[in-house]
Symmetry: C2
């Protein structure tokens, strides 16, 4: 299944982030069946509160110009910061590993015209659940709580 | 007037961006009457489509943690990406130089609880108007049009 390959790539990014001491959320940007950007949450690694996984991924992808035909994958449902990027740059489709550990803003994204697919992936759920249980303060900082 | 000092600092950032060949939008983050972060749009300079002025400013401010008591200044009304940051991190107040050249999403920001002040500053309006007239494609790329 196509989703599996790209979600797995996002999950690889998340796991790499965890190994670096970071928050394990990963993201890839796909166009025409090809990964054109990949990133992970780097708040801890770079001391950058804007370096959410999806923002890091879109940064790595560079100046794509128009985002028609792109799909943004993330291991976790995007927050408002990352959802704002989706809305502003009209990324048409977002596929997420899960929304159990963070509900995000899928209703707002859909209302703004984005297609949202939630895969409910057990590996993504387990990775994030374990991280939050061990690092509640770091996680709360990441989402502004 | 307090706003003048900080808007002037944001405008200085915008002008520095223009000198670098970039898009002239600047931003500062203020807490307790002191600038704790400053930035400017660096899409061109860094090839980074996420480097909007407000995102660059919040990045430079580093891991502030909670944003209680902060005020985000920008020479231009924030787009959805930057508004998403305001909403997610609960930045309570946003002061903008103008919204003539870009309407942004002040209604959404207000609905989410942020206070928005629009100063209608002529220097900000003139700087951005001149830039857009000379660089329409670059500007459209910046806002995803």
């Amino acid at each position: 299944m196509e989703h599996d390959v790209f979600l797995r790539a996002a999950l690889d990014e998340a796991r790499q982030g965890l190994q670096e001491g970071g928050i394990p959320i990963g993201s890839v940007l796909v166009k025409d069946g090809r990964i054109i950007g990949r990133g992970r949450n780097r708040r801890v690694q770079q001391g950058d509160p804007m370096a959410h996984a999806e923002i890091d991924c879109l940064r790595q992808a560079g100046r794509v110009g128009r985002y028609e035909g792109t799909v943004l994958y993330s291991t976790l449902m995007p927050c408002y910061l990352c959802s704002g990027a989706v809305v502003q740059f009209r990324i048409p489709k977002v596929v997420v590993g899960e929304s159990v550990n963070f509900a995000g803003a899928p209703h707002w994204l859909r209302a703004q015209g984005a297609q949202i697919v939630d895969l409910g992936d057990e590996a993504c759920i387990g990775l994030m659940r374990g991280f939050i249980a061990s690092n509640p303060r770091l996680w709360n900082e990441d989402i502004g709580v």
